[in-house]
Amino acid sequence: MTKKFFRYTTTLAAAALMFASCSDKDYAVPQPKNELQNDAIKRSIGPSLVGRAMEFAYAMALPADKGKIVSAQVEASIAGAPTTYLEHRSFFTTGGGLDSGVVIGNPSENKDNITTVTFSKDTMAATLRYYYVPAEAARGKEVSFKFTARASNGETVTYNLGPFKVANMEMKLDIPVSDAGAKYISITDMAAYNQADAPAHADKIDLVYLYRTTPASFGHALVAPAADPKYLPGITLPTGVNRNTKLMKVWQLRDQQLARDQFGVFIDDADFQQLNIGEGINYTLGLAKDYGVWVETTDGKYRAYIFVNAASNPNKTATLSIKRYTMK
């Protein structure tokens, strides 16, 4: 009985194994379509911001015996800023990994929300980059794109991409601040003013930048004008500069758009909406490169993130970049 049991089991297992291993997998070489084709991708990552280009790559091709490409165009659902353009060069990647462009036509033209490149070279395949710069009208809205290519034989193809959300927040990069110069920072203006200019903007000054060597932990600091004077040593505030800004210090939150480093970290609208500084404090000391400070203005109108791009102890200076979100 046992022998029979094992014999049947072994036979069954062997049959199952043979059945599985002998299964034939058919493969056929894909046949290319004998017509004009296209494809598009979005190349830029992270939040889309007004005034900062969103990058796309649009590829189109048709068999050589079918004719040549005569034009390519992109229609955005919301007209871009005048700096929006479609490359008139087709890019390929060299063996060294670099993008190399070959001119295929005239520079693009913008008409309302349509950007067009007319080909002047006999071209059967091209990949054009498209740089859409969201205009103020696109802030907080979704934008879609319709890519279209036309061939000399009358064929037309289109490719739709999107929608993509354009963020509400604003960004200002590389604001120089100095202990001896522009040290009064306005979140409203996203700018820094010196002692002479600050009185004219007194009601908009949210922070004071300063650098001190004693105590040793002081270093580079951002302090609200209303903070305890012990955090503003040697500072004589201009008349009317008295805002009490809430702050929270963080380290190594290197937003890629602010830091322009390799880290794929992005601060988006949602981060400001969900930010909870709580009671917060009105001073942050010991700042250095790669530190950041979350900010909420006295009136609650703005929330911001200030990133320290660079800080120099000998010069008593720093370079700051800001992302700002309007709450009210």
Partner: protein, 134 residues
């Protein structure tokens, strides 16, 4: 074949009995193992700021006899938002648990935590004295 089946059945039967009679290890209300260890002390202490970095230059002074921890934080430390981090003797636990930021801004009132030994029989309450570097 009958012998084969009954042998398998017997093995499974005894395995079930053996597993069923195994005594469970004791755990406390937090699901932590209660051991035989009676050691009960704080071995290290740090205070992290909102940037998750330590807020003090020098290590804390821990007096296990007086059950005190003395620490000096840097000038400008946000004492309302501190995450204390304790190192404890093996198998010990801390009460109350640290689950959020702790406010140390009132320097006149010391905060205290109780260390409970691995056997849950010994309890020692440590007071934390904070001063700010000037």
């Amino acid at each position: 074949m009958k012998k084969y089946i009954s042998a398998v059945f017997m093995v499974m039967f005894f395995a079930t009995i053996w597993m069923g009679c195994k005594k469970d290890s004791p755990v406390d209300e937090d699901g932590l193992l209660i051991t035989t260890r009676a050691e009960c002390f704080v071995s290290s202490f740090e205070m992290l700021g909102s940037d998750h970095l330590v807020t003090h230059g020098k290590s804390a002074t821990i007096d296990t006899a007086a059950q005190t921890i003395k620490i000096t934080v840097r000038f400008g430390t946000d004492l309302k938002k501190i995450w204390p981090r304790f190192g404890l003797a093996q198998d010990c636990k801390l009460d109350p648990k640290i689950t959020t930021w702790v406010d140390f801004s009132d320097l006149t009132t010391q905060r205290s935590w109780t260390v409970i030994s691995g056997n849950r029989q010994v309890k020692k309450t440590y007071k934390v004295f904070v001063t700010v570097e000037q």
